[in-house]
Amino acid sequence: MPQTETYNDQVVRLFLLAAAIWGVLGMAIGVFVAAQLAWPALNFDTPWLTFGRLRPDHTFGVIFAFGGSALMGTCYYVAQRTGHTRLALPRLANFTFWGWQLICVLAMVTMPLGLTQSKEYAEPEWLIDLLVAVVWVSFGVVFFATLARRRIKHIYVANWYYGAFIIAVGLLHIVNNIVMPVSLTKSYPVYSGTVDAMVQWWYGHNAVAFFLTAGFLGMMYYFVPRQAQQPLWSYRFSIVNFWALISVYMWAGSHHLMYTALPDWVQSVGMAFSILLLMPSWGSAANGLLTFNGAWKRVASDPAAKFMVIALVFYAAATTEGSLMAVKTVNSLSHYTDWTVAHVHSGAIGWVAMITIGSLYAMAPRALGRPAMHSRRGMEWHFWLHVTGLVMYVASMWTAGVTAGLMWRATDSSGTLIHPFIDSLIAVRPFYLIRFLGGLLIVAGMVVMAWNLWHTAADARARLIKPIPVPIPEPEPRQMPAPVPARA
């Protein structure tokens, strides 16, 4: 290998830009649909602006466009840094960027037009699904080809998670989307009824597991030690957690279908495995948090690290809550209510968004050839806006969910139901307003981040960046545990 090999950060920068834009857009749509629930006049009697058509745009926008772009960008960054090698197959890597953006635009445009499979988190129609499959396989090829040419013998933990994320999501996507096309814009799934529900929630739950959890754990395992400037708390612990997490998660999908027509044994298996899941979930959260041990002073003065710490706390909280909600008696109250929405967003805004934002703040200056982010105050502002909005969102939806759940089951002394359905809606409408306000704060924070990144990228925009050389000669090949990621 020539002495002059450099990291390929070009494609990383593109994904960074995309993540910032989709983040603002996806969450802004979230705020808009939140407003529609509070003020239905905002549906404007216009087909493509109605709640039912825009809500999938919110979920697709934040999960696949924002989260997906951030995951792919950091994945390429991390695989190079932890392997001391340049990204393999640069043209294919560029194709994954443009392909993924095309998919996101197509999906975000066609869903409001009413083209949907109605499977949550897998709404786009079959043509887009085919494109997803092609881009996803290419992503896997670039990632594993990069691992194959690494110079560090041990594959660092972060890459196991990114690898599992790529493999599992590919598998889930293909199995869940087997359909019979009727025309270019309409298809019917080969599964129906109960089987379709089980396949869909096996997919839906594991999209949470491998997209919203494993992928972001990959991010966490690299950027947390990087930001704490010390090695992972326990390397061996992360091995146990990894294998436990990926094998247990796949069993738990049926906790989305408690007390439904799904056979009882599947529900019970789902419940048991969901409780088991607590262990690897807490394991990863603890491993991340303990990595900051001894560096807490630095955390207080480093907004990126603060985002990571709160993200880990919310990861532990959301998984604890999830395991609780998977207990059948608890689920009988929480299912179908805003409690689920509160759980979703303490995972999504607390864990997913915060670990992403923390990692982007950690990665951006390095990928953009700057010593630090443009504005520290901007980062501080973002942190407080985000956390305040998050607390408003989760607290209000949790209250709304429990309120509605209790009202639905309340009976008087003769055993008849007390509340007509509409009463529960009237009771939760004020909380929809609080959620909307919390969402506004969160989006405001995202705009601050986009502004901050834009200025941090001044050199990149002027094309002044010098590529960063890969550290060669090779490090000690028998290093164990795998070395702390190279300082960029």
Partner: protein, 210 residues
């Protein structure tokens, strides 16, 4: 280092092995839970008294999907007393065998619709879809005025019936031949209301001799 580590080390230093073991580990759970359901699915189809959607209702169901009604409404009454009291008998597997995709839903911003059929008149349903707040002032359901002027494309609808027939849902040749006439002059509103009025239909299930 613990003894067990050396087994793991072999995987950790080899990208291909890591990928293969990961793929195996993630496949087990799904296979174990879904395969038995596939086997069971056959017996459900055979014994149920539920009929496939006639062409108009199928078109209505597709509009239900298109408009995202499932994001606020469930069609799955759980086997809990508070639910059966409010919505009627709990839902069973054989009722949704012709639902492609299923419409069980996961969020009740509005009430469950699994046993909606016959609860209101067609006229009520129309008014409610045109302007929910004219009927229930506190509702936050969107209005769907455009459905009333949207004609059903009968050629496309027949293609859709043929597609689900190919997937195994039983439709007779006569039924398909009669479809264009049945869809003549129908609007999206007619189709959606027909679909809603067919939901649950305990009478039809009871009628069936099997």
């Amino acid at each position: 280092m613990a003894k067990g580590y050396k087994y793991f080390e072999a995987i950790e230093k080899h990208a291909g092995k890591l990928a293969i073991f990961t793929a195996i580990m993630v496949s087990i759970g799904g296979l174990a839970e879904i395969t038995p359901l596939f086997v069971e699915a056959h017996s459900i189809t055979a014994s149920a008294g539920v009929k496939p959607y006639d062409p108009l209702r199928l078109a209505g169901k597709d509009i239900y999907v298109r408009e995202g009604c499932y994001l606020c409404h469930t069609q799955m009454i759980r086997s809990l007393r508070a639910e059966t009291q409010r919505y009627g008998a709990y839902s069973v597997s054989s009722e949704s065998v012709y639902d492609r995709p299923h419409q069980w839903g996961s969020k009740r911003t509005g009430p469950d619709l699994a046993r909606l059929g016959g609860k209101y008149s067609d006229e009520w349903q129309r008014l409610h879809l045109l302007d929910p707040r004219a009927v229930v002032p506190q509702s936050n359901m969107p209005a769907y005025p455009w459905l009333a002027d949207e004609p059903i494309d009968s050629k496309d609808s027949v293609a859709r019936v043929r597609a689900v027939q190919l997937l195994g849902d039983p439709y007779s040749a006569e039924k398909i031949a009669a479809a264009p006439a049945a869809l003549e002059g129908m609007t999206a509103m007619d189709a959606l209301v027909a679909y809603l009025q067919g939901l649950g239909l305990p009478a039809e299930v009871a009628e069936d001799p099997t």
